[in-house]
Amino acid sequence: MSLIDLTATELQSQLALGHITAVEVTGAFWAQIERLNEQVGAFLATRRDMALEAAERIDLQRAKGAAVGPLAGIPVALKDLICTQGERTTCASRMLASFVPPYDATVVERLRSADAILIGKTNLDEFAMGGSTESSALGVTRNPWDLECVPGGSSGGAAACLAARMVPLSVGTDTGGSIRQPAAFCGVTGLKPTYGRVSRYGLIAFASSLDQIGPMARSAEDVALLLEVLAGHDARDSTSAAVPVPRYTECLRQPLSGLRIGVPRAHFADGLDPEVAAAVQEGLRVYRDQGAEIREIELPHGRYGIAAYYVIAPSEASSNLARYDGVHYGYRTDEAALLAEWREESRRLMDAGDTSALQQSDNPLVRMYRRTRAEGFGPEVKRRIMLGTYALSAGYYDAYYLKAQKVRRLIRQDYDRAFEQVDLILGPVTPGPAFRAGEKASDPLSMYLVDLFTVGANLAGIPAISVPCGFTSRGLPVGLHLQAPPLEESRLLRAAYMYQQTTDWHTRKPSLA
C-alpha cells in the first residue's frame, strides 16, 4: 500500500513510530498532486518548497526527541477563501486574484501550531457561491470519479483533492451545504460544525451568520482528528462559542447504544434520485442492524428552507461583498479608459445641452466602482449581490429579510422539537449524485434546489456530516446525511465511525487515483 492510501490517523502513528518521515509523506502526496492536478484541477495554488521545508523541520524536531503537534508531518489542503499570510487568497475570483493577506486566519494559526504541512489552496465556486465549483473564475475542477462530472461545491477542490489521494486532510467551508454536498459527490467524509464551533476569523465571508469552516477527510476518524485542531473559542470572532472542545479522537470509538435516529419523511419524497434513495435506505439498515431505533419525524418548515436561505445568504453576501470596490485592495478597472469614457460622455451630453442627463450621469468614482465590480465578479456572484441588495432595499426588507429570519426561527424550532425525540436525523445529502459539468449552468434556481437537504443545518446552526454510503450504477458516490443538536459533533463522529466500521464505502478509490 502506498503512503497516499493511508489515512491521516495511520500516517500519524507511522510517523510517531519513526517508520516513515514527514518528508516522505509530503513527497508522496506531492507526487500525486503533480500527477493528477492537471486533470482534476483541485488546487489553485501549491507550495512544494515550503511544504518540504516544513516537513524537514518536523523530522529534525522528531529526531531530536522534541514534542511535535498532533498533525506533525501531515499535508493539509486549505480552501482558497481562508486567509494565509503572505500567500495569495483568491476566493476563486478575478476580484481577489492577486490579493495577499497580511495575516493568517485563526484556523491557519491553529494548523501551523499543530505542525500540519500546508500544501496548497483548493478551488471553489467564486466566493463560495455555488454547488459545482463551476463559478470559479480561476480554474475548472473535475470529479475524480468521473471527469465529466462536477465535484460539487462550493468546496469542490477540497473534496476532489481528497478523493484523488492528493492530501489526507482538507479544510472546507459550509454556508448551505458546501462541505457536505461535495463530500457526497466525491465520496469523502465532511463535517459542518455547529455555528461558532470553529473561528471564522480569516474566513472570507459569504454569509456571515451561516458560514462555518469544517474538516474533510476520507474517514470519520480523520475528520475527528482535524476538527480537534480547528475547533475552539477565539476572542477575535464575537460569534465564536466559548465552550470547551471535547477530545473527539478519544470519544470516537465509544459506540452509541440506544441510538434513536429520526428520518424526515419529506427527505424521501418525489424528486429524490432512486439510486440515491436506495443507498441511503441501505445506510439506514446498517444502523438498524446495529440496534438503532428508527423513527419517522417531521420537520414541518423544511420545505421553506431554500427560500429562507436564498434571502438570508444573498442579503448578507451583498453587504459582505460591498468592500470589493477597487479602492483598498483587489481588482480595479482600467482608470485611463474609465476617465476617457467619462469625458467623452460628458462632452456629448454637454454638446447636446442635456443638463439633466449630465447631472444624472455617474461621476468618475461611481463609474470606477461599477466597472470594477462588473469586471471583477462573475455572473453568479453578481446575481446574488443583486438579489440581496433587492431584498434589503427600502420597502422590501420586511417582506424578504425579516420574513426569512422569522422562518429561520421556525426551522430552528423544528429541529429543537425533533431532537427531543431522536438523537440524530438521517437522510440523503443531495437529491441526486454529481451532475455533468454545464448541466445546470443556465438555470440558477435548479442549482439552488440542490441544497434542499443541507441548508437546514446552516439556518439552525447545528452540526451535520456527510458520509459515503454507496454508489450509483454509473459509479458516482452517494452521501448519507446525519444531523445532530448544537455542539454534538462528537455524536455525529461516533455515529459515522460506527458506520464506517461495518461498511467500506469510504475506502473506495476512484480508478484514476
Binding site: 477563501l81 481562508i82 486567509c83 487568497t89 476566493c91 481577489l96 490579493f99 493577506p101 497580511p102 495575516y103 486566519a105 471564522r200 476569523y201 480569516g202 474566513l203 472570507i204 465571508a205 454569509a207 456571515s208 451568520s209 476572542a235 477575535r236 470572532d237 464575537s238 460569534t239 442579503s315 448578507e316 451583498s318 453587504s319 461583498l321 460591498a322 468592500r323 470596490d325 479602492v327 483598498h328 485592495y329 447631472q359 444624472q360 455617474d362 461621476n363 468614482l365 461611481v366 466602482y369 441588495t389 434589503l392 432595499s393 427600502a394 426588507y397 429579510y401
Partner: protein
C-alpha cells in the same frame, strides 16, 4: 425676573434639531485594537479589521460601550435592557467595508433631555429633548482636490473605526442662540464626564443641524421644507449658519411658498469665508442604506446592576454643580455659571480655594479675575497652573489679615506665578515687608506736619483729601498699607482737635 423678549414680531418660528457626533475618549478603536491617537502619519494606525480586509471580524471595545452608557445617563436617557448593531450601507472611499457599523432600531439609549438657559436671559430656560444616543464607528478621511476636481482623491484610514457617539436632539430649539447654547452645555456635560475631549479642530465633535420654519398663518403654522446644514467647524459657525439659514429660508418661502413635503430634504454646506450656506455638490442619489443587523456582532444586554454602578461613578453634572455653588457656597447665579462653564478642574480649584481661605466670595473673585485672566494670557489649563489653591489661599489670608492691600496682593500673585514662589518669597523678592506700626505712625505724623492744608480740609469734612497723604506715604515707603495709612492719619487728625 426680566421677561425674555418674545419673538412675536417675527412672522415665523424657527425649528432646529441637532445631530452631534462625539468621538469617545478610548485608547483603541471601536472594533479593533488600533490606536485612536490624533495626528499620526497617514495610514499608520490600521489593521485588517479597520481596513475591512476580507476575513477580518469586529469585536466590541468594552470601554467605548461603558463611556456611551455613562454619557447617556448624564443626558438623562433611557437605557433599554438590550441593544444591537446594524450595518448602514453606502459606498464611499473612506468607508472600506462598504458599510458603517451603527445602530438602527435598537439604539443603546433614547428619550433623554438637556436643560439650557441663558445667563443674559435672551431666551427662556428650556428642556431640549434628546431623541437618542447611539454608538457607531467613524469613517476615514478623504482629501479632495477642491480646486480643479480632476486630481485623484487621497484616502487616510487612520480614523476609520474610531468610536463615535451620535447624539440626536428633538427639534426643540427655536433660535440659533438656543442651538449654540445647547452645544455649549452638551460639550460641558461631555467634558465633565471625561468621555470626550470635544476638540472640534481635530474632529472629535461634529455638528449637523436640521432647520426649517413654521410660518404663522392666523391660528396655525405652516412648516417649510427641512434643510440639513453641514460643514460647520465651530459653535460660532453653527450659530451663524443657522441665523443665515433662517433668513434664507424665509426669503425662499416668500418666493416659492414651498411647504414641507413639496421639496425633498436638502443638504447645504456652510461656507465660513463667504458666510453663506450652499447646496452640497454631487448627484442627489436618494439614500437607501439597507440597514440590517450585523451578523458579525452579538447583542449586548445591560443589567440594572451595571447601570447602577455606572450611575455611582458618574462625574458631576454641570447643572447640578451650578446649583451647588449657589446653595453650598453662596455664590450668585452669574458667578456659578462662569465657574462651571470653565470646566470641572477649575471648579475643583475654586472649591479647594474657598475651603482653604474660608471666603467663597473672595475665592470666586480671585479665580474669575486673576486666575482665569492669567490662564487666558498664558493659554494654559488649570492643571498646568503654577499656583496651587492652597498657596493662593495663603495669599488671600494675608490680604484678609490686612497685611496686603488688593493691588499689592495682585502684584505678589503675578510674581508668584512668574517665579513659582510662595507668597512670602514673592513678597521678599518684591521688597514688601511689614511696616512697623510705630514707624508708620511716625511717617504719618510727619506727613500731617508738612501738609496743614490737607489736615484743614479733612477737618472741614473733605475726607477724600486724605488720598494725597496716602500717595505721599507710598512714595516714601512702598511697603506701607494704604488702608492703614489712611486709618492712622484720620485717627491722628481726630486726636488733634
Amino acid at each position: 425676573m426680566k421677561q425674555p423678549p418674545e419673538p412675536d414680531h417675527l412672522p415665523y418660528k424657527i425649528v432646529i434639531g441637532l445631530e452631534v457626533h462625539v468621538q469617545l475618549a478610548t485608547r483603541t478603536k471601536l472594533f479593533c485594537r488600533c490606536n485612536t491617537q490624533f495626528g499620526a502619519p497617514p495610514n499608520t494606525q490600521t489593521c485588517p479589521v479597520c481596513i475591512g480586509l476580507p476575513g477580518a471580524l469586529p469585536v466590541m471595545n468594552d470601554e467605548a460601550f461603558r463611556l456611551s452608557l455613562q454619557t447617556a445617563l448624564a443626558l438623562n436617557c433611557q437605557i433599554p435592557p438590550s441593544t444591537k448593531w446594524d450595518r448602514k450601507q453606502y459606498y464611499y472611499p473612506d468607508l472600506p467595508k462598504g458599510y458603517q457599523i451603527s445602530q438602527y432600531d435598537l439604539p443603546l439609549s433614547h428619550d433623554g433631555f438637556l436643560e439650557i438657559h441663558d445667563s443674559q436671559q435672551r431666551f427662556e430656560s428650556k428642556r431640549v429633548r434628546i431623541r437618542r444616543a447611539h454608538l457607531e464607528e467613524d469613517a476615514g478621511k478623504s482629501i479632495h482636490d477642491e480646486r480643479s476636481g480632476t486630481a485623484d482623491s487621497r484616502i487616510d484610514l487612520n480614523r476609520t473605526g474610531t468610536p463615535l457617539l451620535e447624539i440626536v436632539s428633538e427639534p426643540d430649539m427655536s433660535s440659533a442662540l438656543e442651538a449654540r447654547t445647547f452645544l455649549d452645555e452638551l460639550k460641558l456635560v461631555l467634558v465633565y464626564q471625561g468621555v470626550s475631549d470635544c476638540n472640534m479642530q481635530e474632529g472629535s465633535l461634529r455638528v449637523d443641524a436640521n432647520i426649517n420654519l413654521h410660518i404663522r398663518d392666523r391660528e396655525t403654522w405652516i412648516p417649510t421644507p427641512i434643510v440639513e446644514v453641514k460643514n460647520m467647524n465651530s459653535f460660532r459657525a453653527v450659530e451663524r449658519a443657522l441665523e443665515f439659514e433662517a433668513d434664507r429660508q424665509f426669503d425662499v418661502w416668500q418666493e416659492t411658498g414651498q411647504r414641507l413635503g413639496d421639496a425633498p430634504k436638502q443638504t447645504r454646506g456652510w461656507d465660513d469665508q463667504a458666510e453663506v450656506t450652499r447646496p452640497q455638490r454631487g448627484k442627489e442619489e436618494s439614500s437607501d442604506y439597507r440597514y440590517f443587523p450585523d451578523p458579525d456582532l452579538v447583542p449586548v444586554n445591560v443589567s440594572p446592576q451595571q447601570l447602577d454602578q455606572i450611575r455611582r461613578q458618574l462625574g458631576p453634572i454641570p447643572a447640578v454643580l451650578r446649583e451647588q455653588l449657589q446653595t453650598q457656597w453662596g455664590l450668585g447665579a452669574y458667578d456659578a455659571d462662569v465657574l462651571v462653564n470653565q470646566g470641572p478642574r477649575l471648579v475643583q480649584y475654586f472649591t479647594q480655594l474657598a475651603e482653604a481661605c474660608g471666603d467663597a466670595k473672595e475665592a470666586s473673585n480671585w479665580v474669575q479675575q486673576d486666575v482665569m485672566r492669567r490662564l487666558k494670557e498664558q493659554q494654559t489649563e488649570i492643571d498646568a497652573f503654577p499656583v496651587s489653591a492652597a498657596t493662593l489661599a495663603e495669599l488671600i489670608r494675608m490680604k484678609q489679615a490686612g497685611q496686603l492691600d488688593r493691588s499689592r496682593a495682585r502684584e505678589v500673585f503675578q510674581h508668584m506665578c512668574d517665579h513659582l514662589q510662595s507668597p512670602q518669597q514673592a513678597m521678599t523678592a518684591l521688597g514688601i515687608q511689614q511696616v512697623d506700626t510705630a514707624e508708620l505712625s511716625a511717617l504719618c505724623r510727619s506727613l500731617l506736619d508738612k501738609n496743614p492744608a490737607i489736615v484743614a480740609d479733612v477737618k472741614a469734612g473733605k475726607q477724600q483729601a486724605i488720598g494725597s497723604l496716602v500717595g505721599q506715604a507710598k512714595k516714601q515707603n512702598p511697603n506701607v498699607n494704604p488702608a492703614q495709612v489712611k486709618e492712622i492719619c484720620l485717627q491722628l487728625i481726630a486726636e488733634m482737635s
